[in-house]
């Protein structure tokens, strides 16, 4: 009995919970020390403890106090069974002296080395096991032999999974339209410029919204009849129009056949025409009814309340992002994308303003191995344009260097004034990695984009190196002279650049057109039988007199004799001008081996320049009589 009382007393005395510190799980925990230290850095303070040591296969054991001081865990000691109960928010660890199996929230987990008592009675526990279970990471720096246990304050970073939009309406704040959200339909198309939006439940059930600028001479009534006519092959269910509001004319059609039900609305305002079309499976009444309801809910207004805004316009610009090219550029909000979205490396944007078919932003990305450096490409383009264009109509600045937010460029500007075009262009060239970028901004004169706007566009460009392994070679489709081919007449041949096509060839009469510039060249061949060059000049002069009577014609250079290699030609130069167009014509008559060649070349005014004149001369020089 005495033995019992002694045992009981000792048991009683030992069952005293040692409460730890209050739970501070949200705080950062840091333990740092080298093996052999007896003062450990715990949460910024040096704490002297029983020395930690390494046991077994490299398991670091630390005194229990390190755990309680660092993590603020609660400890309970059960002397009879030599069990340690560690409590921490969400985790309870049960350890037992010399037992290599621990319990975490009741689940047995194997330890690499069990807890043990030192000779002087200190409880040593495995540092890594407990620290990791409490959410810390343990690292060992080989260079300094320092062990660091680190737990950053717990922050639930990251957001949870999201579903489709929750707003009851969807719309565009720039084009000012909104519609009930087509629940049950997925958005399958939303063009960069916001012009085309499409939803679909499946391929038989779709809703499409297309926005286009309204033509100046748009005839509402005619269009209404026209659409009615196209629906001839279906049963018309509804055909209404409302022109009471001149600024918002509406038409509405519903038509069906055995498989399809069409519900079509069109809204015409001064600036834009909105076409809202639904196509549904005729057999699916539920989808069709709901679809028609959604279409009817379309409105030319946009309010921020409970409406998901599809518009990507920010501060007057849309940001265009070519992902595969790691390229971003801001484009003014009234521009649309005129290039195909399928082309990877070339993009063009034009103004929505129907009066303006000149304003243009164009982007091209090419491999430096194909086009040279930015400077070389700038010089090449500069020289090409300078020689191609009529120097009286096109003026060029010099090439200069410029600095923009994210790149340095070589650039030049040019101004064009002619019947078909009045424009001002800034042509910018820069490079990054193995690719060269050519961005040009063209404005319509006399009211061009402000320099600040052009600068804003160019400064908005954000580029990152393109992975050349993934993207490969990008060449520019130049339509440069790709060599020559032989045009065959009955009595002659001529070497012609590949950019010219044969429009017609009767043997004695050939008509060629340059695909790049629409320059026309007509050659007629006649057998001379004794004619002299003097006769040629007489004929040419009489032709000149005839032309002088034409009101639209102005003689630029009177008939005179020129020499092309060994051949002599008469040459007459004149301008033909109408209200909308102006062209330069070169009439030449020459003789070669008793064949008389009548050559007429018509150049459009803008490209009447060095390049084409030289090309014509070379072609004529190459004429060989069979």
């Amino acid at each position: 009995m005495k033995k019992w009382i002694v045992m009981l007393l000792s048991a009683l005395l030992m069952i005293t919970p040692i409460t730890g510190f209050a739970e501070e799980s949200a705080e950062k925990v840091e333990i740092s020390f080298s093996v052999g230290d007896d003062t450990l850095q715990i949460n910024g303070t040096g704490v002297q403890v029983e020395k930690p040591y390494i046991a077994g296969v490299g398991v670091t054991l630390v005194p229990l106090r390190v755990i309680t001081e660092a993590f603020g865990a609660t400890v309970e000691w059960v002397a009879e069974t030599q069990t340690i109960l560690l409590s921490y928010p969400d985790v309870k660890i049960v350890l037992q002296i010399n037992n290599p199996v621990a319990e975490v929230n009741g689940k047995a987990e194997a330890l690499l080395y069990p807890p043990e008592l030192t000779a002087n009675g200190f409880t040593m526990v495995p540092l890594r096991f407990i620290s990791e279970t409490f959410g810390a990471t343990v690292s060992f720096d080989e260079a300094t032999s320092r062990i660091t246990v680190l737990k950053e304050s717990v922050s639930q970073e990251g957001s949870l999974v999201q579903g489709a939009i929750e707003e009851s309406r969807v719309g565009d704040s720039y084009y000012k339209w909104s519609m009930d959200t087509p629940v049950g339909m997925e958005m399958i198309e939303r063009s960069f410029d916001g012009i085309h939006t499409a939803f679909q439940k499946d391929e038989n059930n779709t809703i499409e919204i297309i926005i286009m600028p309204t033509e100046k001479d748009y005839d509402f009534e005619r269009d209404f009849s026209g659409i009615k006519q196209t629906l001839q092959n279906m049963t018309l269910v509804a055909a209404d129009k409302d022109t009471s509001d001149a600024n918002k004319k509406t038409m509405h059609f519903q038509a069906k056949d055995k498989s399809t039900f069409i519900d079509f609305w069109m809204y015409v305002t001064k600036d834009f025409t909105y076409s809202v079309a639904g196509s549904f499976d005729a057999a699916d009444t539920e989808t069709r009814t709901e679809g028609s309801r959604i279409l009817k809910s379309f409105d030319l207004s946009f309010t921020n309340s409970d409406t998901y805004d599809l518009s990507n316009v920010k501060d007057g610009y849309r940001t265009f992002h070519a992902e595969s090219m790691n390229f971003k550029i801001n484009v003014p909000r009234n521009f649309y994308m005129s290039s195909s979205e399928d082309i990877e490396n070339e993009f063009t944007f034009r103004s929505l303003d129907l009066d303006d078919d000149v304003s243009l932003i164009s982007v091209g990305i090419y491999s430096a191995s194909a086009v040279g450096s930015a400077k070389e490409l700038a010089e090449k383009d500069y020289n090409h344009n300078k020689n191609l264009l009529n120097p009286e109509l096109a003026t060029f600045s010099a090439i200069k260097e410029q600095i923009y937010t994210n790149f340095k460029s070589f650039e030049y500007t040019n101004e064009i004034h002619c019947k078909s075009e009045d424009s001002y262009k800034r042509d910018v060239f820069f490079s990054l990695g193995s690719y060269v970028y050519n961005v040009s901004v063209t404005s319509k004169l006399p009211d061009p984009m402000a320099a600040s706007t052009v600068n804003a566009i160019l400064n908005s460009i954000v580029l990152e190196k393109i992975d050349s392994d993934a993207v490969g070679i990008l060449m520019r489709n130049d339509m440069e002279t790709d060599g020559f081919y032989t045009v065959e007449g009955t009595k002659f041949t001529m070497q012609v650049p590949a950019t010219y096509s044969e429009v017609s060839n009767t043997g004695d009469s050939v008509l060629l057109m340059d695909n790049r510039t629409a320059t026309l060249m007509q050659i007629d061949v006649e057998y001379s039988d004794g004619a002299q060059f003097k006769d040629v000049m007489d004929f040419a002069r009489s032709r000149e007199r005839e032309l002088k009577t034409d009101k639209e014609v102005t003689i630029l250079k009177s008939t005179e004799q020129i020499k092309l290699d060994d051949a002599r030609f008469s040459e007459l130069l004149y301008v033909t001008e109408t209200e909308d167009s102006k062209s330069y014509t070169r009439e030449m008559i020459g003789m070669k081996n008793w064949q008389v060649l009548f050559v007429t070349v018509i150049y459009n005014e803008l490209t009447y320049g060095k390049t084409l004149l030289k090309e014509t001369d070379e072609m004529l020089k190459s004429i060989a009589i069979k």
């Binding site: 921490y88 928010p89 985790v91 959410g135 997925e186 958005m187």
Partner: protein, 370 residues
Amino acid sequence: MVNFTKKCLIAALACVLLTGTASAASHVRVYVNGMRVNEDVILQNDRTYVPLRAVSEAMGAQVDWDGNTSSAYITFSEDDAIAQLVENVSPSVVTIVGNYNDGSDSGQFNNPTMHGSGVIYKNNGHIITNAHVVKDIKNLTVVLSSGETYPGRVLFSDEAADLAIVKIEKLGLTPITMADPSTIVSGKTAIAIGTPISLSMRNTVTKGIISGVDVVLPDSHYKILQTDASVNPGNSGGPLLNIRGELVGINTSKFAGVGIEGMCFAIPVDTVTHAISQFEQHGKILRPALPFTLQESWEAKIGLPTLKGLTVKNVSGGELANGDVITALNDIPVHSLADWNEAIKGTYTGNGITVTFTRGGEAYVSHLTN
């Protein structure tokens, strides 16, 4: 003071007398399938007496007590074992959900979601799953069997092995126990837990057998397990377990043949533990960077056993030449690309490889650095 002590003493004595036996039995712990049975256990005459109902029910058995006859009836079947296993293991199986929008305007509007499964392998929130489940995922969310959701982040990912590690900020979770690879043989029961097809089927269970081990498929980097436990998209990343509830593989629906019934695949546990240890030690799975590519024989390509080796091609440096045939890596015979990958998995430590190869009829051994 004296009175207080006396009262305590008396109370304590009463406790001792009531239990009536010779030793404090509370130091004996009983675990059933790794979970502690929290009832008192009695040691008498060197025999351990456990509370009948607690232990039986922990095993999944049914205990009926007839008070009139003082009889206990324990009924137990494999079925019960499996049901209990599922109950025990389910807390270790999670569903991984996220958004896969491509950033385009339609992507942001539709916000499509996709999901897979995962297994908790460390109690502090580390989860293993397939790499293809978490590739390009946004707003990764982990749903525990209890229904609690936590945002998660991808710590590591290896597409060749098709394994990835996801971490959530939650402590005290129930980790899975890894099976001993040598116990994985054809014919043994295999149980898949996961979330196939729809999120309403969270943590549902299918059962089959291990149909084959060391199976090779054209797009499997390592050797894999074949099972007929039904694995569908959504099960990917979830566990394949043996009848003891231990992890034998990670289900991968990626390899499911179109229209092939009853044939599903899992990444075996030894590849999983290799990946985890490589991620922890090096941040990725180490593989040597080789200045050549390897081509296996046509027999190996179609899966016929062969003694032919791997032909060296596209040499861009180093000692080997095009046409050399490698027959062993680090002394392990290799007859297929899967053999090669397995040999690397088993022996590569980052310090080069030793290849045995034949050239012009002669055998050579060479150590390649890297």
